[in-house]
C-alpha cells in the first residue's frame, strides 16, 4: 500500500475514534439509551461532530490551496485578511443586527469573502498575484480591519463584546443541523473542483514561466482555486468562527507524515477533520468542569507548533 493511502486511512481512523469519544463523553454509549439521551445525541452531539468534521476539512483544504498558490509554507486563508474580515462581518452582525445566528453567519461570510476579494484585487493592480506580494497585501488589509474591529468592540456593551470575542476565537457550541447542511452543501460543491485542480496546482508550484510553457494559464488557476478555497473557508468560519491555525498546520502535518511533495490535498482534508475533533475533545476536557471554545486549543497548540515550524523551516532555508 502506498504510504499516503495508509496515512490517510490512519487520519480517517483518528477522526472516527474522536467521534466515538465525543459521544462517549456523555456516557450514552451503553446499552440502555433513554429518550433524553437520544435527544442529546441527535440534536447536540451529532451536529457537533459533523460540524467539526466538515469545518475542519474545509479549513485544511483551503490552507493547502493557499500555501500552494503563495508558494509559502506559512500561507493560510488568514494571510488573505480572512480572519479579520470574518470578524468584522460577525461584529457588524452582532452589533447592528442583534446577534441572531443567521445574521451573524451571513455577515461573517460576506466579510470574509469581501476582504479576501479586496486583497486579491489590490495585489492584482500591482501585477501578478503569486508569492510574497499577496501575503504582504493580506497583512496590510488585516491590520486595517483589526483597527475597525477594535473600534467596534470598544463601542459595544460588555455582553456583546464577550459574544464577539467568543465568536472570533471559534467555537463548536452553536452547532446545529441547519449549519451541518450548509457546510455539507458547500463542501459537496467546492471540494471536488479543488481536488481536481491538484495537478495544475502542482505544476504551478514550479513557477509561472514553466507552468505557462506546459500549457497552463497560471493566473486563471490561481483565481479559481483561491476562490474555491476562500468560499469553503468562509462557509466554515460562518458556522464556527475562524478557528485558528487548523488551515496552517494541517497541510504541514500531512506533508510530514505522507512524505509527499505538492499540495497533498486529500490527506490534508482528512487530517483537518481529525484535528478539529481532537482539539474540541481536548478543549472540553483540558480543565475539569470548564469547557473551553475549540479555538483556544487550536490557537495555543497551533501557535506552539508554528514557532517550532518557523525555527525548523528557517534551518532548512524554506522561508
Amino acid at each position: 500500500m502506498k504510504r499516503s493511502t495508509l496515512v490517510s486511512a490512519i487520519f480517517v481512523a483518528l477522526a472516527a475514534v474522536a467521534a466515538f469519544r465525543t459521544v462517549d463523553i456523555g456516557q450514552f454509549s451503553g446499552s440502555g439509551v433513554t429518550e433524553a439521551d437520544a435527544f442529546v445525541i441527535d440534536q447536540l452531539l451529532l451536529p457537533r461532530i459533523l460540524t467539526a468534521v466538515l469545518a475542519g476539512s474545509a479549513l485544511a483544504l483551503a490552507g493547502a490551496v493557499v500555501q500552494s498558490v503563495t508558494r509559502n509554507p506559512l500561507g493560510s486563508p488568514d494571510v488573505l485578511g480572512f480572519t479579520q474580515g470574518a470578524a468584522t462581518g460577525a461584529l457588524v452582525g452582532i452589533l447592528a443586527f442583534g446577534g441572531g445566528v443567521v445574521a451573524v453567519a451571513a455577515s461573517a461570510w460576506i466579510g470574509a469573502v469581501g476582504s479576501a476579494a479586496a486583497v486579491y484585487l489590490v495585489t492584482r493592480r500591482g501585477g501578478v498575484t503569486g508569492g510574497a506580494k499577496l501575503i504582504l497585501v493580506g497583512i496590510g488589509v488585516a491590520a486595517i480591519l483589526s483597527g475597525v474591529n477594535e473600534y467596534l468592540i470598544t463601542r459595544a456593551n460588555i455582553v456583546d463584546a464577550a459574544a464577539a470575542s467568543l465568536w472570533i476565537t471559534g467555537s463548536l457550541d452553536g452547532s446545529s443541523w441547519s449549519g451541518v447542511v450548509i457546510l455539507a452543501v458547500a463542501t459537496a460543491l467546492l471540494a471536488p473542483p479543488i481536488l481536481l485542480a491538484a495537478r495544475s496546482l502542482r505544476v504551478l508550484e514550479l513557477g509561472d514561466d514553466l507552468a505557462t510553457g506546459l500549457g497552463l494559464r497560471g493566473e486563471r488557476v490561481r483565481l479559481l482555486t483561491l476562490t474555491g478555497a476562500v468560499l469553503l473557508a468562509a462557509t466554515a468560519a460562518s458556522q464556527t468562527g475562524p478557528v485558528a491555525f487548523v488551515a496552517l498546520c494541517a497541510p504541514h502535518l500531512a506533508r510530514g507524515l505522507t512524505r509527499r511533495t505538492g499540495p497533498n490535498l486529500v490527506p490534508t482534508l482528512l487530517l483537518g477533520a481529525a484535528l478539529m475533533q481532537w482539539a474540541d475533545y481536548l478543549a472540553q476536557h483540558a480543565i475539569p468542569n470548564r469547557e473551553l471554545p475549540v479555538g483556544v486549543v487550536t490557537g495555543v497548540l497551533g501557535g506552539s507548533y508554528l514557532v517550532y515550524l518557523l525555527a525548523h523551516q528557517r534551518k532548512t532555508g524554506r522561508i
Binding site: V122, L136, G140, I144, A161, R314
Partner: protein
Amino acid sequence: MPTRRALGIPAALCALLLVCVLSLGIGALPLAPSAVWHGLTDPASSPYAVVHQTRLPRTLLGLLAGTALGLAGAVMQALTRNPLADPGLLGVNAGASAAVVTATALLGISSLGGYIWFALGGAALVSVLIYAIGGGGSSTPARLALAGTAVNAALYSYVGAVELLDTDALDKMRFWTVGSIADAEPGSVVRITPFILVGVLLALGCAKPLNTLALGDDAATALGGKPALTRAVAIVAIVLLCGSATAACGPIVFVGLMVPQIAARITGPDLRWLLPYSAILAPVLLLGADIVGRVVARPSELEVGIVTAVVGGPVFLLTVVGRRA
C-alpha cells in the same frame, strides 16, 4: 540633499510645536492658542485645570510614545534591512500586550508601575524570537512579515483566551488593546520617561555602527565595528522603546512603519540623519492622528490606535504594491 536635510530639522520641529499646540487646544472644550498659553502658565485661569490634568499629560504621552515607536521602527528597519519592519506588525507590541494581560488577569496587577516590567519582558522575548526566526539580517520582507503575523496570531489568541475566561479582564483590556493616549495620567508619563530616554540614547548611539553594519558583517568588522554588540544594543533599544510605549498606551501599529519611510525621502539612508528625523516626525504623526481621532467622531472620540491602523494600512499597501517584489 545636505542643505535640504539640515533645513528640514527646524521645519520638522516647527511642525512638532504646531501639533503640540493643537493637541493642547483641540478637544471637547476648544481653546484658542492664547487660552492654551494662559492655561499652561497661569494657575488662576479657567483652562488651567483642563490643560494640566488631561491635555498636557495626553500630549506628553503622545510625544514620548511617538518618539519611541518611530525610533524603534527606524532601528528595526535598519537592523533587519527590511523596509516593512514595524514593532506592531512584527509582534513586539503583541508580546508586551500578552505579558500585560497575563499580569492583569492572572496576577491581579493593574497599575502601570507593576506591569511595565511585564511589558518590557514580553517585548524582549518576542524581539529575540522574531529576530531569530525571521533570519536576522538576511531576511526577506515576506519572511519577516509572516513570522511576525504568525507570532501576532498566536499571542492574540492567547490574549483572547485569557479574556474569555475572565470577563472583567476583557472589559478592562478591550480599551487598552486598541491603543490610546486619551486617559494619560501625569504619573504614567513620569513612569515611562526614564525607559524611553535610555532607549532614545541607545538608539541614537547605534546610528553610526548600524550605518556600517548595512555594508555587511565582514565589511563592518574590517572597519572596526562589532556587529554582534551593535545588534544587541539595537535590540535592547527596541525593547525599551516598544515595551514602555506599549505599556503606557497599548499596542499602536504602523507609526514605526510609516515614519522612517517618510523621513528617508528627506534624508536618504544615512541613519545619523534618519534616526533624529524619525524621532521628531513620529510624534507629529501620532499626535496628528490623535487630533484627527478627537475631531472626526464628535461627540465621542476615536482612539489613536484605530486612526493609525486605518490611515497607516493604505500607506503600507501602497509601499507593497509600488515596490518590485
